[in-house]
Amino acid sequence: MKKMRQPSQLKEAWVLCFLLGVVMLNYPFIHIFNKDATLFGIPILILYLMVGWPLSIMVIFLFTRLLDRNSSQPDNRDQP
């Protein structure tokens, strides 16, 4: 199963996303949104976090879908 290139690519993509998440949640990136302003009546920092959070969960979800597809492909090939 692990002989293909995709899983290792996938693994690197995971690490990248993880690091991106850490960066986007911390100084200095978060400083962009750390302002005393509102958008649609909601403070901009809270809006950023409360929208960014579900987005990151979405990314994980998509990745697991990809993982499913990847792991099912080699299986199919084993049994023509």
Partner: protein
């Protein structure tokens, strides 16, 4: 205002409901079904992370300090990215190594070190103490809020309940109840596989309740009390313009450093808190569930955080900015607005959050305490007890209570000085200390035990110093001197500004120093120390866990590839046919595999692990491994008998670990191939030691005297019980056991109906005893007995089951031994035959002498069973020829050796002995003594032929008379001479006869193998048939004559091999030579 009785009743009913769910899940599991084995339940159970800290504390934090409460949940969301690699690796390793706790995991990685297990356990218990205190505080205070009149709330709600004595506060009662339920959920009985499906089911339900409750409160505040998110934010900004920092970070309260530290701490805590580890790793039933939980769990914590800020801001608005009760806004706001039912729901949500955490933590920690602190002590001091399993389960129960009451103790010390979140963070940083040793151990091969141990110890010391000491000081329990002036007045040792590091918040400060020492020591010492041998062994299993399926060793072990069916059979024996088939078809999925087993070698290790895991679910992890590995290692050999016993006696899956271990131990003894006596003794020792019997006896039937004879006996010496034989009669219990082929159990010897037995039993002071038949293939061959002088009623049904299977194993041992004996006997016989055959064939002449005037040929066809035929030609100096043919009775080495002696004697002596009769006389003399003793005898014909004169002289010692065919007349003559067989009588006279042969004459010497060759009707080939054939063959060469004769005999008998040796010597006088 809710009444005290109502709240207490609802709490208890709720706990009872949880318990019923747990009980149902456990029952289902016993029936082989798992209601928790799906990704939804797994994701929900992970939410045990959300404790009352989340439920109440987040809001309090948001209302007082600001947004940093979010870090506690953003961390786990981020770390979820790593689960498919990090968590799956941890789960895989734990399943393969049968790991049951985080302490087990770390100690296992570092060479199964008992020391590592012990320090991790101690640190975990101390580290979690504040966290449990937090839960007790939350539950007791919300209970008080609900039951104490609202008018008193402003004065503080930490009053003791007026209905109870003052020294028992609400927290104490809560601790007691949570402890009891912890015992009920986690330690009702000693669980073989350390998995608690019931507990997981209850946790999942609690997670559901708490999110429903929190969302209900959130929606009520946001859309009921206010007009949506925007409304709350707008009104907040209008009313408290000075508190806008609550919605920002990089404030005085939340610098960026703290923001980062808390995110990091929560990532580590989520992975390495003992209860998280337990639920995530140990209770995981399928790696695939991780994939789903990776986004479902973050979605859960997102949802539970969605309304935290609205509730916090709403609370501030409704309370005019008063933050004293901020921690309990979730329950207070519904009450303030008169919605008591919602307050009750919130209370239940918070109660769920706290109870779940306390129960899982206490069970996980109690397991660690039992395995890593108590067990090593028990093993070291060899503490003995009557009933080990009862003692262990009681220790575990006690440990659960002890863990919770340690938390209570901390709560009493800290009291009101800390907010909920701050107490929890102390525990978070404690569990972060496990991260370097654990993650390092997973990915870094050079990580050594010394490095990990020192790192852990330093990390925890610094943690204790920088976090726990300040918390004691703040509560007034310690003098504040240490904070201001440092330990021993050394300023650079001030706990909050260690080594002069100032300007940081308490968490970042502690995180930095603990990690500095922990990681530093771990890396440095690992680099400069070598892993021990046992560590080396483990490193590969952890670091290369995902490459392992290709490991050649794994495949070698299954050298004779077992089929799928065999695995199913094995599983069927333990979990029943239906479950076995269901399990295997689940595993194989839609792979096309015909059931006769064409499974690729590559798949086998996987199937093996699967089988092991399946069995582990019912008999426990360690026994499962023994079963599968032994089964594979010894497939097709004697060991299968042992497993058949397990199959024939259905061991209830509730049988305790101790009982199973006895069975496995005895199965091993039986399979060890030790001498029978030793096997029997060891089985009795095992039985006696484990159950403290005063006497154990094995009796086996003696078929000659028809009595049961003692074969092995352990314990007190009693002539009547343990040494004497027993008649086969229904009058005694033993006799009855044997004759009815069923166990007889007397649990109280005062009530017995058999007079004969009762007398002996009472005389020896036996209180209870049991007999079980020892059987071979269902037939009784003996009786296994156990006697106890101390306890009545010791023989439970479960025990009798075990006892019967032990008796079955004795039967197997007995049968194995019999087979072995027979085998050895046969083996020895065969070996002897071979030796005899070699000797015999070595004695026969290898070449035929070439003499003028005659043509010679001889043969000895050895039978399947070796005989004692012997023939020889000896050419003398005077040109004469001695011919000898002999038949030694018996078919063994003795007869072969006798033949050798005969040959030696003849070769040596016959030269000096002038005539044939003298040779025989001398031989008779020589053998008289030997043969008499050996009960052997020899028949022999000795002939001398002088080719020049064609004179034949002969004597016979009871041998078949040689045949002479006269070419001239075509007549047959028999060369009969008087003489007894050799070695019977001391002095025998042998007749000597002479005969002159003519050219063309034929002499045939033979042994009785040819005349006594028997056909299928029982007729002998016989003399006459032989004589009739010879005239037809005379024109042939001697060798051809022999071939033809053998051919005729074979035609007669109809078989190729002869029953006895056949020896033939043919001498033909040539026509063209002769004397004048």
């Amino acid at each position: 205002m809710n009444s005290f009785e109502l709240v207490a009743l609802v709490s208890l009913l709720y706990l009872a409901l949880l318990f019923m769910v747990a009980y149902y899940a456990d029952r289902k599991r016993e029936q082989g079904q798992s209601i928790i084995s799906n990704a939804n339940i797994y994701s929900l159970s992970l939410a045990v992370y959300c404790t009352s800290w989340t439920f109440y504390g987040s809001v309090g934090r948001a209302a007082t300090s600001g947004l940093d409460f979010l870090t506690i949940y953003l961390g786990p969301t981020l770390i979820a990215f790593s689960w498919w690699f990090l968590l799956r690796r941890m789960v895989r390793i734990s399943k393969e190594q049968n790991i049951v706790s985080i302490a087990d995991f770390i100690s296992c990685r570092y060479g199964k070190s008992a020391f590592m297990g012990a320090i991790v356990t101690i640190f975990a218990v101390v580290g979690i103490m504040p966290y449990i205190a937090l839960q007790l505080k939350a539950v007791s205070q919300t209970f008080d809020i609900l039951t104490i009149p609202a008018s008193q709330l402003s004065h503080g709600f930490n009053h003791f309940l007026p209905r109870l004595p003052s020294y028992i506060d609400t927290a104490f009662v809560v601790a007691l109840f949570l402890g009891l339920f912890g015992v009920l959920f986690g330690a009702r009985h000693l669980d073989a596989s350390e998995r608690h499906e019931g507990l997981v089911a209850a946790i999942a339900l609690e997670s559901l309740i708490k999110i429903v409750a929190f969302l209900a409160v959130g929606i009520f505040i946001t859309y009921g009390a206010f007009d949506g998110f925007t409304d709350i934010f707008t009104r907040f900004a209008e009313k408290f313009p000075d508190r806008h920092q609550l919605l920002l970070i990089d404030t005085e309260q939340i610098p960026y450093v703290k923001w980062f530290s808390l995110t990091f701490i929560s990532m580590m805590a989520f992975m390495f808190l003992p209860r998280q580890f337990h639920i995530m790793v140990i209770e995981n039933s399928d790696e695939e569930h991780i994939k789903k939980a990776m986004w479902r769990f973050p979605a859960y914590i997102f949802a539970i955080n969605l309304f935290v800020i609205p509730i916090a801001l709403g609370g501030l608005l409704l309370n005019n900015g008063d933050v004293t009760n901020a921690d309990y806004f979730v329950i207070n706001l519904p009450l303030q607005t008169g919605h008591h039912w919602l307050g009750m729901l919130a209370y239940l949500g918070g109660f769920s959050a706290a109870a779940g955490m306390v129960m899982v933590s206490s069970v996980a920690l109690a397991t660690m305490i039992l395995n890593h602190l108590i067990m090593p002590l028990i093993l070291k001091f060899q503490i003995e007890t009557r009933d080990f399993s009862v003692m262990l389960i009681n220790i575990k129960r006690f440990a659960i209570l002890a863990v919770i009451f340690l938390g209570y103790l901390y709560y009493r010390i800290i009291g009101e000085s800390y907010a909920l979140v701050n107490i929890g963070l102390i525990s978070f940083i404690a569990s972060t200390q496990f991260a370097p040793a654990l993650i390092g151990g997973l990915y870094w091969k050079r990580a050594t035990r010394r490095g990990a141990a020192l790192g852990l110890i330093l990390g925890f010391l610094v943690w204790f110093y920088t976090l726990l000491i300040p918390s004691f000081v703040r509560s007034g329990w310690l003098h504040s001197d240490i904070l201001e002036n440092g330990l021993l007045g050394l300023k650079f040792l001030r706990p909050l500004e260690l080594f002069g590091l100032s300007g940081f918040d308490i968490w970042s400060h502690s995180l930095f120093w603990t990690m500095f020492f922990n990681v530093g020591a771990f890396l440095t010492l690992s680099l400069f120390s070598q892993p021990t041998e046992s560590e080396e062994e483990q490193i590969g299993k952890f670091v290369d866990v995902f490459d392992k399926r290709l490991e050649p060793q794994e495949r070698q072990r299954i050298s004779k590839a077992p089929t799928v069916v065999e695995f199913i059979d094995l599983m069927t024996k333990f979990i029943g046919e239906k479950q076995a088939h269901t399990a295997i078809s689940e595993y194989l999925g839609n792979r096309e595999i015909d059931l006769r087993g064409s499974l690729s070698e590559f798949e086998l290790p996987g199937l093996k692990h699967f089988t092991e895991r399946t069995l582990a679910g019912s008999v426990g992890a360690a026994p499962a491994r023994i079963i599968v590995e032994n089964y594979l290692a010894t497939r097709g050999s004697e060991m299968e008998d042992v497993f058949d016993i397990f199959g024939s006696v259905t061991i209830s899956r509730t049988a305790s670990r101790e009982q199973l271990s006895i069975l496995y131990e005895s199965a091993r003894v039986v399979a060890s191939g030790a001498p029978l006596k030793k096997i029997l003794d060891e089985i009795l020792d095992l039985l006696g030691d484990q159950f403290k019997f005063d006497l154990c006896v094995i009796r086996i039937i003696d078929h000659e005297s028809m009595t049961l004879t003692v074969r092995s006996q352990r314990g007190m010496s009693s002539e009547h019980l343990g040494q004497s034989e027993r008649e086969l009669t229904m009058e005694t219990c033993i006799g009855q056991t044997f004759l009815t082929n069923s166990p007889v159990v007397v649990n109280d010897s005062d009530f017995m109906d058999k007079q004969a037995t009762a007398e002996i039993i009472h005389r020896e002071g036996i209180k209870a005893f049991a007999h079980a038949p020892i059987t071979i293939e269902g037939e009784p061959i003996g009786v296994l007995s156990a006697f106890s002088k101390q306890v009545k009623g010791i023989f439970t049904d479960e025990f009798v089951e075990l006892f019967t299977s032990l008796a079955g194993q004795v039967g197997v041992a007995w049968r194995n031994n019999q087979q072995t004996e027979r085998l050895i006997e046969a083996h020895e016989q065969q070996k002897e035959m071979e030796i005899a055959k070699t000797i015999q064939l070595g004695l026969l002449p290898s070449t035929v002498p070439q003499l003028p005037g005659i043509v010679l040929a001889g043969i000895c066809v050895p039978a399947k069973e070796v005989g004692g035929d012997y023939y020889d030609y000896l050419v003398r100096d005077d040109g004469s020829l001695d011919l000898v043919i002999a038949d030694v009775s018996g078919h063994n080495i003795g007869s072969a050796l006798l033949m050798a002696e005969t040959r030696t004697f003849i070769r040596a002596q016959s030269v000096s002995l002038a005539s044939t009769d003298l040779v025989l006389e001398a031989l008779n003399e020589f053998f008289y003594e030997d043969l008499g003793q050996a009960e052997l005898f020899i028949t022999m014909v000795f002939l001398k032929y002088q080719p020049r004169t064609r004179l034949l002289e002969y004597s016979s010692a009871g041998h078949n008379p040689p045949i002479v065919y006269r070419a001239a007349s075509g007549e047959i003559e028999r060369l009969d001479a008087e003489g007894l067989i050799l070695g019977v009588i001391h002095e025998v006279r042998f007749e000597r006869k002479r005969l002159e042969l003519q050219p063309g004459d034929l002499l045939l010497l033979y042994t009785d193998g040819i005349t006594e060759a028997e056909n299928s009707h029982g007729d002998f080939f016989g003399d006459e048939r032989l004589c009739a054939i010879i005239p037809e063959l005379v024109d042939l060469e001697p060798q051809q004559i022999i071939d033809q004769l053998l051919e005729q005999v074979r035609l007669f008998t109809g078989v190729h091999n002869f029953r006895d040796d056949i020896s033939l010597v043919v001498m033909k006088v040539e026509e063209d030579t002769g004397t004048d």
